[in-house]
């Protein structure tokens, strides 16, 4: 079954002459073990797509399903629970709570979900360790660099059993080595059975995905799956020219 499915989704902001059509009939299916990258110029609807997939926004028309359930049909509580349990987000603004340490920030979604403090802390430490952030566990956000905060936010998005991971330019504040490490981690998590949607303007990051879709003006203009025979690409480019 698809973890995420969008069916002919439209999202319009405003009405009449000033209406902005952020998405115009987008359909998308993401299965477990599949990582989708979304690329497109600024304003093409990438963040709108992620917000809809995460239940932070509702479509004007069409349907968004997570694990088969139509998000718009869930109660406020049902939606909050689905978000906390099943969906991990990394956003452009990483919004850690300033009054909590790194490990407390990462443990928060689990605690909100009723996991015991001790167990939540253990899982949070594991998630931090995955990102090689153990040494930052007891620091507060204002004691960390932007890149460090970003990685803590990623640890938080990946903590616990997430079925759907949504990331909007998650590598923005990171140097290229760290950015690559984050992608590797995302890939590992998806390979273990989660579904992922990654918005990025970096082609080398999008390249970690199984499928790359290109948005323009709120519609998919193209998509790129893997080639059948990677061997074909092994000749060094330009060598035979």
């Amino acid at each position: 079954m698809n973890v995420l499915e969008l069916r002919d989704v439209h999202r319009t902001h405003g009405t009449g002459d000033t209406a902005v059509h952020a998405l115009r009939g987008l359909s998308l299916q993401v299965r477990p073990g599949e990582l989708i990258a979304v690329m497109g110029p600024s304003g093409s609807g990438k963040s709108t797509l992620l917000n809809l997939a995460g239940g932070l926004d509702r479509p004007t028309r069409g349907e968004v399903r997570v694990e088969g359930r139509v998000l718009a049909e869930l109660s406020h509580r049902g939606l909050a629970e689905a978000r906390r349990r099943g969906i991990g987000y990394v956003f452009q603004a990483f919004n850690l709570l300033p009054s909590l340490t790194a490990v407390e920030n990462v443990a928060l979604p689990l605690e909100l979900d009723g996991v015991s403090v001790r167990k939540a802390r253990r899982e949070a430490l594991r998630s931090l360790a995955d990102l090689e952030l153990t040494h930052l566990a007891d620091r507060f956000p204002d004691q960390m660099s932007g890149g460090q905060q970003q990685r803590v936010a990623i640890a938080r998005a990946l903590v616990g059993p997430r079925r759907l991971v949504l990331a909007d330019e998650p590598t923005g504040a990171l140097d290229s080595e760290t950015g690559e490490a984050v992608l590797r981690l995302l890939r590992t998590r998806v390979d273990a059975g989660a579904a992922g949607v990654l918005v990025t303007h970096e082609a080398r990051h999008a390249a970690w995905a199984d499928r790359v879709i290109f948005l323009r003006d709120g519609v998919v203009v193209d998509s790129s799956g893997p080639l059948a025979q990677p061997e074909q690409l092994l000749a060094v480019p330009g060598a035979g020219a």
Partner: protein, 200 residues
């Protein structure tokens, strides 16, 4: 790239004779690809044999213009619609192809850019997969080779983004010669909206 497609693209603008073709070809390629008139005529002869161009009656000044045929037009459309493979690419072909796409009537340049982008993205995906599979401790030389190819493909993606952004800002006036003879392209892409143009 073969001279053939360059000549076909130029003839799509209108009938031309050999010297005109040579001048227009050199102009299109920014003088980076000088042709001699012999190459032009050999290519035209081959194209005529293959039914892709046809020669017209000689002018009073003794010049014989050529025009593109339906078969030639189909061949040209196919070229524009097919991404260039990275394996055996003379590095400049893509740039020249886009330059010609811009000045050839009826070609949807954004569709040409997007076709290439999807193909280059696929290449990047494969290199990335190979790199992810390789072992960081034992495969360093191999990983460096992969990195080199990754960077090249990545640079090409950036350049394609740049081309597209420039296209949105600058829409050339529609060509005046033979507007009716538009070769089909891969996909109908809508003209950029005003909104999008503003956002860039």
């Amino acid at each position: 790239m073969s001279i053939k497609f360059g000549l076909l693209a130029l003839l799509e603008r209108g009938a031309m004779y050999g010297y005109q073709l040579r001048a227009a070809f050199e102009e299109s390629t920014g003088g980076t690809w000088p042709l001699n008139i012999g190459q032009v005529y050999t290519t035209l002869t081959r194209l005529e044999r293959d039914g892709q161009v046809r020669s017209l009656p000689e002018s009073d000044a003794g010049q014989r213009p050529y025009e593109i045929t339906e078969a030639g037009r189909a061949e040209l459309a196919m070229w524009f619609a097919t991404p260039i493979s990275r394996t055996d690419r003379p590095r400049d072909e893509l740039a020249i192809k886009l330059a010609l796409a811009l000045t050839t009537p009826g070609v949807d340049v954004r569709a040409v850019v997007q076709t290439q982008r999807a193909a280059t993205m696929r290449t990047l995906q494969e290199y990335t997969r190979l790199k992810a599979k390789s072992d960081a401790s034992t495969d360093l030389p191999w990983r460096l080779v992969l990195d080199a190819m990754l960077f090249q493909a990545e640079a090409e993606m950036r350049w394609l983004d740049h081309c597209e952004a420039s296209l949105v800002r600058h829409r050339p006036a529609p060509a005046t010669t033979r507007p009716e003879s538009a070769p089909a392209t891969t996909q109908p892409a809508p003209a950029p909206s005003e909104e999008e143009a503003r956002q860039r």
